[in-house]
Symmetry: C3
Subunit: 160 residues, 3 copies
């Protein structure tokens, strides 16, 4: 069964509403930019169910545990799927996940970024299956992320 929404629903996963930026913050860019068959996805972070940015903020390995960061990466996947749904109208239009660039707000010495970003990959693979959901990936430690979010992911997908 290739219906993405059914797979998300079976796992109890819910897409959050559009991001509510912090007060005074202007985002003069698109959450999702479609150019031909290619879809460029801006850096997203984990959202609360009300659309605001996630409660787990801070450095992973210090204020945020690896397990919390894994959950933050799962929420980041849902944030991106929400943006894709609003822009594309139907997530089933996606024929391939091309690229996932996973950024972790790493405390000095924390080097388990792949285990964190697996939260993102796990959601994508469970929702899209091993063929469409397969993706290239990097998982690296950034010095700082906006609003001290624990995880940020930029990505690219292909549509027909």
């Amino acid at each position: 069964m290739s219906n993405v929404y059914q797979r998300l629903s079976e796992q109890g996963l819910v897409l959050p509403p559009e991001l509510v930026p912090p007060p005074g913050v202007v985002f003069p860019f698109e959450a999702v930019r479609v150019v031909g068959h290619r879809v460029y996805i801006s850096g997203h972070g984990p959202q609360n169910p009300d659309g605001s940015l996630y409660a787990y903020r801070g450095k992973v390995g210090r204020e945020v545990t690896e397990q919390q960061a894994y959950e933050a990466a799962r929420l980041t996947a849902l944030s991106i799927l929400g943006s894709l749904h609003r822009e594309l109208g139907d997530l089933n239009r996606i024929v391939a996940w091309n690229r996932v660039f996973g950024m972790v707000n790493a405390a000095p010495g924390f080097n388990r970024m792949p285990a964190v970003i697996n939260g993102f990959s796990d959601v994508i693979l469970s929702a899209f299956g091993p063929y469409i959901g397969a993706h290239s990936r990097s998982a690296v430690g950034l010095a700082e992320l906006p609003f001290d979010i624990a995880v940020e992911v930029e990505a690219e997908v292909e549509i027909h």
Copy 2:
């Protein structure tokens, strides 16, 4: 009016000459790489009017203020437009800004990268308008940037 050069001129914006690398530095790559309709833009930093790298160097939030970094992001946009002009011959060939990856040389604790990279987005949107100039974007904090530049941007655009 869709002429990019006219829009730049109306704002008094001038494209810098080709980058003059610091002494002894070899750059064995292209500033701009065209492959079919897609144009990959190497990481660029802010240039002085003589082509050298920008005077504002250092960590944003420490040696460089947020306002100076915003200006550095504007200069980085002009640096990229200069490279695109030299490679493409005509900036009006650009039909879409696909992706902007904004990197800020962030001092520990500085997390206002989006406000800095808005300097880049503002130049692109004012020069190309809201349709062609729309772009996906990330704005994140790097540990170190080459030559201690305050801002670096990598990007991708589409041409016909």
Copy 3:
């Protein structure tokens, strides 16, 4: 002569076997993702000849010298070429190097990332020549890299 394998052989360069992940590590993504004519390459690091991750680990400018990091970047290029060979069957299918995103595990104050990532560019240019091997590039300093590898590169190439 455009045969990539001959050029590698003439320089005594050998492609490593598939990456052996550290114990307990799961990589739920593709080393190389082919979508149409475009090939997305996951972040790779330097490999030992037995396939494991490179011996030079740590911060460049502290535990790892610039010269060692340059060598790590060369090994990273070979790691990527190994993955491309296994996925594409023939490296001569590559018609263009589109994008190279070079990430250096930078010690505080180390800002010579371009000199490090030149190790990657030098291998690609010597194997593919100045036309196919030309690429856009960024070379920046990350706060942390997985497993404390000194260098990681993400890239994109074009095939026919």
